[in-house]
Amino acid sequence: MDIFNGLLLGFSTATTLSNFAYCFAGVLLGTAVGVLPGLGPIATISMLLPFTFGLPVDTALIMLAGIFYGSQYGGSTTAILMNLPGEASSVVTTLDGHQMAKQGKAGRALAAAAIGSFFAGTVGTLFIVIAAPLLASLALTFGPAEYFSLIMLGLITSMVLTSGSLLTAFGMALFGIILGMIGTDINTGAARYTFGSPYLLDGLDFVVVATGIFGLGDVLMNLENERLRVTGVAPVSSLFPTAEDWRRMSAPILRGTGIGVLLGVLPGAGVLLASFSAYALEKKISKHPEQFGKGAIEGVAAPEAANNAAAQTCFIPMLTLGLPGTATMALMIGALVVQGVQPGPEILSQQPALFWGLVVSMWLGNLMLLFLNLPLVGMWAKLISVPYHFLFPTICVFMAIGVYSINNSVFDVYMMALFGVLGYFFKRMGAEPAPLILAMILGPMAEEYLRRTLLISHGDASVFFTSPLSLGTLVVAALLLLSIVSPRFRKVREEGLQEVD
């Protein structure tokens, strides 16, 4: 199927009344939950997951994607108005965005973020349209060795781009891999780490673990310093960027989009890397670098564009290879598996309506966000100022219902409680849980591909270095690891990631 027919199919799928309505509902709910301080996309998606159960697969995926960008948008709103980043990649937005808000330019900062994101989203979607079919056909030629190397690259990138020490991140990834191995070994049928419990035979549900660690863990962490929670929301005035703003932000948006589109495809922490790089680049080439950190509109527009472009293109490895690039994408895979869809190169040829419908609805979702967010910004500001002691019981209820309804299993609810405590423990110990989440999905895949590779080569590991693609991937991974030893990069990483937690 060529691109044109694909897009036509996509439009006819995405614009059916119910799909359009659920896309809208997803975007609206995603933003509403995403603006709540302290709720990142992972917690938002896992909280809203039950709303997608019982829907047909394509509708569910469209709504999930809508929730995902909605929560990203909502996160930037909170970052600008309250100086509270909902997730790592909106940390840079707080730097200049909140400064602008303090100077009474909150509306213009929000508009810059929205316009930048919309433009980047459009370009990102176009990029998916062109690149995804190419990559999917390329991926069909990948053997297990290539997949294994790509997985290693993804795991290493996520470790390098995590705040805190590399050693800690490595330990977290290993812990995640072990959690992923719980259940029946698909190759031999042996039950591993089940301790005789029938509930563990199918493995730990990924969504349950993510909800526990990110959702409940964050609630526990936030209650720790309940007294310290700030509740100042900057007032929103004029939403319209001035001619001067337009002039200053158009080039940064373009550059940010370019960076985001390319980095989003990288396995690992593409979205995070994109927004940091875009900010750093703007600061470097600006004629007035001293204005950055003091309310430069370029410092809002560029990272927001990069952030959103990467958020679109990180769907590419997820949809075409079945490999999640970020913890959020790992959760999306978890949600798709609940729906009975296994993402991979075959999804394009076997379920074209699903793929193209999703792509078109991504663009529609971005368009809705542009028209939804700016007029409704007053309402979002009100939502942000809801006190936390009303919020967190509600959050707990939604998470409990969500986790229960995945398998109608009470056992999952207990597991969520357990992982909530673990998530709290990790955060208190300064260990970022993102590598754990990614490793839990990627670990079993790595085992499977390693097993297949070595079965074909009769135990000879040199195949990883004789296939050019696998070798190239491993070299990039090794360079990344080496770069962290270099003091210069180390400094940049520490500066960039220190506020992220």
């Binding site: 072990i178 720790e224 309804s405």
Partner: protein, 153 residues
């Protein structure tokens, strides 16, 4: 050895890794060319033990930060409330389970005081959730739990 973030985290990795190795060692290991179910777990768990030891080793060279005091009340009550929800959702039904969960979690806040507004709010919330999730979304969760059902209905 003073307790610090690294010491606790290192201990966690080591203990979990050792348990994991000792469980995985009983699975058939196989060879590189024909990996058994124990191959990958043993390697990964051993690496985790090693990582944990390195973290412990590292902790000896870093000035330990004092660990801030833990607020035990939310840490125990909130996961406890989630467990209570799990116990109640099938036996008492969704509305009562939500009521228990909201009340128990809300009670951990420093701003909580039991009054008619808190009670009315949680009642309304439980009713709303039951309508949205069971009636509108059609999730198969009982409204009235198995303990409360009158025989014959």
């Amino acid at each position: 050895m003073k307790l610090s973030q690294d010491v606790l985290l290192g201990l966690f990795f080591v203990v979990f890794g050792v348990v994991s190795v000792s469980v995985a060692i009983s699975y058939p290991f196989g060879t590189s060319g024909r990996m058994g179910p124990g191959y990958f777990p043993v390697i990964i768990s051993s690496l985790l033990v090693l990582t944990g030891l390195l973290v412990l080793f590292r902790s000896q060279f870093v000035q330990p930060e004092t660990l801030p005091a833990i607020r035990w009340k939310p840490l125990l009550l909130i996961p406890g409330a989630v467990v209570v929800f799990g116990l109640a959702v099938e036996t008492l039904g969704l509305p009562l389970a939500i009521l228990l969960l909201t009340t128990m979690t809300a009670a951990t806040s420093i701003k909580f005081h039991l009054g008619w507004r808190a009670i009315a709010g949680s009642l309304a919330f439980a009713a709303l959730c039951s309508v949205v999730f069971i009636e509108l979304l059609g999730l198969p969760i009982p409204i009235v739990g198995s303990w409360l059902r009158v025989p014959g209905f």
